[in-house]
């Protein structure tokens, strides 16, 4: 028999990027808000500067069985505990471009969003003001129309300067990378000191992770945050017309029911679909919000690559933010690409590098070992340059999250992920490998090479749309089937673009949360 707690206005599932935005907006609007988070109750002061220790920010037992031809790199991309994956995300925050919202109507490819860039623009502007973004709007010649950044751009060390030379040689443009990192003190938070520890989580709050901006705001407005609460199901009323709360398991394994007038799922892409599918009941046999049969479908990831080069100059590659110093979106136009590939690409240039870990010096050449590895480490520490290319993936119906046979310790089926990089994404990635190496050579690299394909960011599974038969939520991220169930995070994106997803996830959540706040009477009815 489950213990039933006192009702709250809103339960938010997941204390990551999207959950933190909903929590702040709704609590500030006077709602009683409870954020239930599966992972630990973390503080900024728990974020140790060490790539080895940063691995504690990752799930220990992934709730995902991946069995498709390609991996979405779930464990690399997902996080747990207060802050979610966003606790150690790099803060690279460009905006989606107008064409990303109208893929189907403009090009006959993929899906359309339920609204245009213009509709989301004020929410991007609001979020960038809240978090204190740094950048140079004029130099970003590709940037969609929007308010200028509130702060001046990020540091460019020799690393960025040397690589920019390569772009210039090939007639390509670079601009300071738009970042949710403070270049000056802002709203009581200190400026970045360019030590490159973002991947371990920025404990001074210079990077706009959830613990630095929206969760404190939410708490200040009275929202409660609770860790070690593993949500297993969203519950509906007897008629199956509205949600009435969630069921979760606490640290002791007790089953608890938390009633609420509205529920917002912000458990990141795979887990959002898993919870909906696991919440099937007699009125919703295929899972909640799944009358379209699309819960779990249109899963996307960005095919990405790292490009490396050994230079003759001291690169100062230990300086700066992990996400990079410069950006290039010259390859953003979706058509006219060399091998007929459809879709956009971008480069993030001059990432701060540490010796160890997945993105460290050693891993840039996994084939080297023995004394040669020591030599490589010495050389790399001074002369290695790096950048990351991100390519667009296409929404494909068969790329999906379903339920696995295996179960978690609470008896709930794990998520099963079946994923294959779209053919278009693969072609874009090939173009990027060639261009990336050419850029490094033009910049003067003695040797230049690229790493394997990796999946960055995970999107889709609960896509938005106008037509309830072709999408899971409407433009307010409100499920078509259940009016008081909302979904936050990149799982609602109908297209992936090649843009890092978190700024857009914030803007979408901000829009949706305001809708909830402004229409509370109807929702709570």
């Amino acid at each position: 028999m489950a213990k039933t707690l006192e009702k709250v206005d809103v339960v938010i599932v997941g204390a990551g990027a999207a959950g933190s935005v909903y929590a702040a907006v709704l609590a500030e609007a006077g709602r009683s808000v409870l954020v239930l988070e599966r992972g630990v109750e973390r503080k900024l002061g728990d974020l140790y500067s060490s790539q080895t220790w940063a691995r504690r920010l990752k799930w220990g037992a992934p709730h995902v069985v991946e069995d498709g031809p390609d991996s979405i790199w779930y464990n690399f991309n997902a996080g747990h505990g207060f802050g979610g994956a966003a606790i150690h995300h790099y803060g690279v925050w460009p905006r989606y471009h107008p064409e990303d919202f109208e893929l189907h109507s403009r090009y006959g490819k993929g899906l359309d969003w339920p609204y245009s860039y213009e509709t989301l623009r004020p929410w991007y502007d609001q979020v960038q003001k809240d978090v204190g973004m740094a950048g140079d709007a004029k130099k970003e010649i590709w940037r969609p129309i929007g308010d200028p950044y509130p702060l001046p751009p990020v540091l460019v060390s020799n690393h960025g300067k040397v690589l920019a030379r390569g772009f210039e040689q090939l007639g390509l443009h670079t601009a300071p990378i738009p970042m949710a990192v403070l270049t000056e003190p802002y709203n009581g938070r200190p400026a970045c000191i360019w030590d490159g520890w973002c991947d371990a989580g920025c404990p001074i709050g210079a990077l706009a992770n959830p613990l630095a901006v929206y969760l404190p705001r939410a708490q200040q407005a009275g929202a409660r945050l609770q860790g070690n609460a593993h949500i297993s199901r969203v519950l509906t009323d007897k008629k199956g017309e509205k949600v009435i709360g969630v069921e979760y398991y606490n640290r002791e394994g007790e089953r608890i029911v938390q009633p609420a007038d509205a529920v917002v799922l912000c458990a990141f892409t795979v887990e959002n679909s898993r919870i909906l599918l696991n919440s099937a009941n007699s009125h919703h046999l295929d899972g909640l919000a799944n009358s379209s049969g699309l819960v779990g479908r249109y899963l996307m990831s960005h095919p990405a690559l790292s490009v490396f080069g050994m230079f003759e100059e001291e690169m100062q590659n230990y300086l700066g933010a992990t996400g990079g110093q410069l950006i290039c979106q010259d390859a953003f136009p979706k058509t006219g690409n060399p091998n007929g590939a459809f879709g956009s690409r971008q480069w993030e240039i001059g990432l701060a590098i540490k010796p160890n870990d997945l993105l460290g010096i050693a891993m840039s050449r996994p084939d080297i070992y023995g004394n040669a590895l020591h030599q490589f480490m010495q050389e790399g520490a001074r002369f290695l340059g790096s950048m990351v290319g991100v390519c667009e993936d296409q929404p494909m119906r068969d790329n999906r999250i379903s339920l696995a046979k295996d179960k978690d310790r609470f008896g709930q089926p794990l998520a099963r992920v079946t994923y294959q990089v779209s053919e278009e994404g693969r072609k874009l990635w090939q173009n990027a490998t060639k261009e990336g190496v050419d850029i490094f050579k033009a910049a003067g690299a003695k040797q230049a090479w690229h790493g394997p394909m990796a999946g960055q960011h995970i999107m889709g599974g609960t896509v938005m749309g106008i037509d309830r038969n072709k999408s899971v939520t409407n433009g307010e991220a409100q499920t078509h089937d259940l009016p008081n169930l909302f979904i936050g995070g990149p799982s609602v994106f109908p297209t992936s673009s090649s843009i890092n997803s978190t700024f857009t996830a914030h803007a979408v959540a901000m829009k949706s949360a305001h809708y909830m706040a402004n229409n509370w009477g109807q929702l709570a009815d």
Partner: protein, 190 residues
């Protein structure tokens, strides 16, 4: 902005080391993996044979890894809750318990050593060991049972790099400023 490399180094280093709470004689002691090895702290998860193979391979992958205590580091982490575990295997979607992953990796190497050299992996000569490493380092190399030996190579190599270069001393060896915001309180005794 002017950057003074030496100043950064001075600011970032405090002689801190990777230290973990090792179980000794019913008590718990904060030691670096290197100290744990030097003091022959008993291994909790790995057998002596498994540890010998791991150490031999890791030392060949990155000389100095054995003395830096790579096997004690791995052994210690295999005893942790998967959520707290610091091994890179986590990033590669390896399913806990991670002990099985290392056991199967060692078994796979033993099998290869027998097939190729009729010898135990820990007893291979330098040239044979090198050959074995080249085999397991080739992307996609699997045992007949389907275990991914190239992933084992990647993880063990990374474990070696973690203990040798992932610490403030390791950074110092590379003349890279550490610049910590926060040193891990329990695990680093800076």
């Amino acid at each position: 902005m002017t950057i003074n490399r030496r100043e950064f180094i001075k600011r970032g280093l405090g002689g801190a080391t990777l230290a973990l709470a090792f179980e000794i004689g019913g008590g718990s002691l904060l030691l670096t993996p290197q100290q744990a090895r030097a003091q022959a702290v008993p291994l909790q998860q790995l057998t002596a044979d498994e540890a010998a193979v791991l150490e031999r391979l890791a030392e060949a992958l990155l000389p100095g890894a054995a003395e830096a205590g790579v096997t004690h580091f791995i052994d210690h982490q295999l005893g942790e809750d998967p959520g707290d575990c610091l091994l890179i295997a986590k990033y590669f979607q390896v399913r806990p318990p991670y002990r099985d992953f290392y056991r199967q990796g060692v078994a796979g190497c033993e099998q290869l050593a027998q097939e190729q050299f009729k010898q135990k992996a820990a007893k291979l000569n330098v040239a044979q060991l090198d050959q074995l490493i080249k085999m397991i380092g080739k992307p996609g190399t699997r045992t007949p049972e389907g275990y991914d030996l190239s992933l084992f190579y990647l993880c063990l190599r990374s474990d070696a790099v973690d203990v040798v270069y992932g610490t403030p001393e390791g950074f110092e060896r590379l003349n890279v400023p550490y610049m910590a915001h926060i040193m891990p309180p329990e695990g680093w005794n800076g």
